[in-house]
């Protein structure tokens, strides 16, 4: 609901209602100030359709306007430069030609099989969002209402998913071989691995595995990297000796993760790393960072649904809407 006012009090409320709201799932996304919000969830290729309801306030003035339109917008916003948002998707439907509104009105809209190339993301320095924007154009100031949506990017099991196995160390001091069972993990996956000690000439006190998220914004010389330790998990307490093998089992479902996002619209990346940290008795830290790729697996129901559904023709509706001649 929105309460958009002119100088003399609220003039018009703009509401957006999606057609399939009853059957559509919602998802959660954190806002810039850390609050969690729920919005309807869409996937790439799905149509976005519904109604725009205008509620004229009792005793309000007649609303004169120069046109009413609705847009489907996909936008990237860098917090360091909020005035320069970049819109990578902007579809427009005209709802009404210039005229006036004297009573409550309702307009149908449909954006067919919309491409949504990236996943919604709210980070430390950047935000990618999708929303519907209704604009009532007026001479002095437009009335604008934004209706937030969330998009998830789905992927299928990778064809190739090699394990990561590497021998690292400090010469004559510490040699280990670490292994992680995959290089690509889905968001509810389990990281299974092991650390094998080949040479231990330092006094190790404990070993932990960290899951680190790096958000890289900007290009070239002005890149900013925001690093967040998403998880810290002690995998060994005490001093190991040569030949010992320490198992790793880290369940990703317990953490707030997003898929790996590489170079989204050439504006930002979100990457994940496993950081293996060994701490000796004098608190000296020895570590090895290794990138892993995270991907979003389609939920059970979606996978079973007919995969060609997005290409079927839409259901016939009772009120045909024609973009060239909007209803008056």
């Amino acid at each position: 609901m929105s309460f958009l006012g002119g100088l003399f009090g609220p003039v018009c409320e703009i509401d957006v209602l999606l057609n399939d709201a009853e059957n559509r799932k919602t998802a959660e996304l954190k806002t810039e100030d850390g609050k969690v919000e729920k919005h309807y969830l869409f996937y790439d290729g799905e149509s976005v359709s519904g109604k725009v309801n205008l509620n004229v306030k009792q005793g309000g003035k007649r609303l004169e306007h120069q046109g009413i339109r609705i847009e489907f917008v996909g936008q990237i916003e860098l917090f360091s430069d909020k005035s320069n948002t970049h819109e990578f998707v902007d579809l427009v439907k005209e709802l009404a030609l210039p005229g006036e509104i004297t009573q409550n009105r309702s307009y149908d809209f449909e954006f067919m099989q919309v491409e949504k190339p990236y996943e919604s993301y709210t980070g430390a320095n950047v935000r990618l969002r999708y929303f519907l924007r209704v604009t009532i154009v007026r001479r002095l100031s437009d009335l604008v209402k934004e209706y937030e949506l969330i998009v998830h990017q789905l992927a299928t099991y990778p064809d190739v998913n090699n394990s990561i196995k590497m021998e690292v160390g400090i010469e004559d001091c510490l040699h280990i071989e670490f292994e992680y069972n995959k290089s690509k993990y889905h968001l509810k996956d389990v990281i299974v691995g092991k650390i094998y000690f080949l040479l231990v000439r330092i006094k190790i006190q404990h070993m932990e595995l960290q899951l680190i998220k790096k958000e890289i914004t900007g290009i070239g010389p002005s890149t900013a990297t925001e690093t967040e330790t998403v998880a810290k998990y002690e995998i060994m307490d005490g001093a190991p000796v040569k030949g010992e093998s320490i198992p790793i089992r880290l369940f990703l479902a317990g953490y707030d993760l997003t898929p790996t996002m590489r170079d989204v619209n050439k504006k930002f990346s979100v990457r994940f790393f496993l950081n293996l940290v060994l701490v000796d008795e004098e608190d000296r830290r020895y570590f090895k960072q290794q990138e892993i790729v995270l991907w979003r697996k389609a939920p059970e129901k979606i996978r079973k649904r007919n995969f060609h559904q997005r290409y079927e023709s839409p259901e016939p509706r009772t009120q045909p809407v024609n973009a060239e001649q909007p209803e008056m």
Binding site: E179, A239, E244
Partner: protein, 160 residues
């Protein structure tokens, strides 16, 4: 395409450990004791020396058991050498206690038992922390400090 609803979380295979490795002495044995404070000299030129005994099985040290006598200024020398030549952050030494060296203050000054014990403990902590650092172990000054009878202040600094 079917996928299992429960992930496979079985441990990865690993080589069984050699029993001599499992039950043998660890390869990281390093212990340094700072003990037996002795006051050397007479009158105003007196100073305290400490026994510094190192036992280790690390291959980088020539002697697996060494014993030398060192005084506070020798520890200071080592700290300065390491700060200059190596990239490590050198831990702090116990205090210089300049106040205790002032003649008109009462008490035994530098030779008070509790002070010597405090200093001994601090020096022991210091040398153990340093000697266990992989980068410090490469420095000639550390080996000279721990394993040679006297420190040659005109030595040529370098790596082992």
């Amino acid at each position: 395409m079917t996928d299992s609803t429960v992930a496979d979380t079985r441990r990865l295979n690993s080589k069984p450990q050699d029993l001599t490795d499992a039950y043998g002495p660890p390869s990281n044995f390093l212990e340094i004791d700072v003990f037996d404070p002795q006051i050397v000299g007479v009158g105003r030129t007196r100073y305290t020396t400490y026994q510094v005994r190192m036992r280790t099985n690390l291959p980088i040290f020539k002697l697996k058991d060494s014993c030398v006598r060192r005084r506070y200024s020798d520890f200071e020398w080592l700290k300065n050498e390491l700060e200059r030549d190596s990239k490590i952050v050198v831990p702090p030494l116990p205090g210089k206690a300049l106040k205790r060296q002032l003649p008109f203050l009462g008490g035994e000054g530098l030779f008070e038992e509790s002070f010597i014990e405090e200093r001994r403990s601090g020096l022991e902590q210091f040398i153990n922390r340093i000697a266990g650092h992989p980068l410090a172990q490469n420095e000639r000054c550390l080996h000279m400090f721990l394993q040679e009878e006297s420190i040659d202040r005109n030595y040529i600094p370098g790596k082992v």
